[in-house]
Subunit: 196 residues, 2 copies
């Protein structure tokens, strides 16, 4: 199937990089981005910009009543977004769909050794095993103040790790933790009664 | 919502336990089982019967062109199936939906410390982390001849592990491995080029 010619794209070389623009990208389906975003746009986005998109996905989840954790995967060469998502424990009654698992599910069958994953929160044990097992090249972590510890494990397995905290993302997660401690616990440990 | 009264159920105290019956259970949506299966039926199923259902889910996936790995989760007290599924790498282009992740996604937000998971194949590192993290009480493994090693890890983390090989399940997985070695490799390690 040939892609239709689109003359003017909303996301171009001259589009300003602000939260309104990045939030729209966060909400658009990944499959739509190829048609709507010019190649030149992607090259302008810094790691901090992609982390903002991950945090704006966390914001989307928070507004839906869910856990505010988001993630974005980009192709290292073109900087295009190839997968993204957020936690859906509440929204899909999904017991382990964290930011990372959601983004990887969205990306589908890719060679992740050519990609970088941005996560708004330090990865849990499950997502750490998944990132190692799928051979991710690089992981950027947006909040090690609220949780952490698996950065070293990733690094030990050959994944390049960069900590790049997003202060609004850290504040949002801390707010969620204060408001919904039981939901946060379920997200990390499940509903089990007898273990920790 | 009150459950409608159903006088006669196909799966009852006198239903024979053969592959035709167990295969039908494997294919039915989990949410439908409460209406179609009598409580007395579940108590008659042995661990080997539940493993057969996991293998018949693997068979379903194989027939669909996918990786033949299935899993079933039961409530320990009632022996009812509360979740089940099979690998969907091919069917959903899903990079980590293994038997175990599929069954846990199907089960939703449960206290897994009261459940047993039956998997037709020894769990990978991702699924092992998930089983430990969600606090599973017991895991029954149907094939340690084709893969293995994480049984000890599960056991070290307080999960009761039982190996109960299903010879037809082992034969099906070996057939798949011979027929589709590249697909098997992708399922275990992803599509990455440069690492192992």
């Amino acid at each position: 199937m040939t892609e239709p010619q689109v003359e003017i794209k909303l996301f171009s070389a001259s589009t300003p990089l602000n939260d309104a623009v990045l939030r729209t990208l966060a909400h658009l389906p990944t499959r739509s981005l190829g048609l709507l975003v010019a190649d030149e746009f992607w090259c302008r986005l810094s790691d901090a910009d992609f982390m903002r998109i991950a945090v704006l996905l966390a914001e989307k989840s928070y507004i839906e009543g869910g856990c505010p954790i988001g993630a974005v995967i980009i192709d290292n060469a073109s900087r295009r977004i190839v997968g993204k998502g957020h936690n859906t424990l509440v929204q899909e009654s999904h017991p382990y769909n964290h930011g990372e698992t959601a983004a990887i599910r969205d990306a589908g069958r890719l060679d992740f050794s050519q990609t970088t994953l941005f996560t708004s929160l330090s990865p849990c044990n499950i997502c750490t095993a998944l990132l190692i097992n799928r051979g991710f090249n690089r992981v950027v972590v947006g909040d090690v103040s609220s949780a952490g510890g698996n950065e070293q494990t990733l690094s030990n397995h050959g994944v390049t790790v960069k900590v790049l905290e997003d202060s609004k993302g850290v504040a949002l997660y801390q707010q969620f933790r204060r408001e919904q401690p039981e939901l946060e616990r379920e997200d990390w440990l499940g509903l089990r009664q007898n273990k920790d």
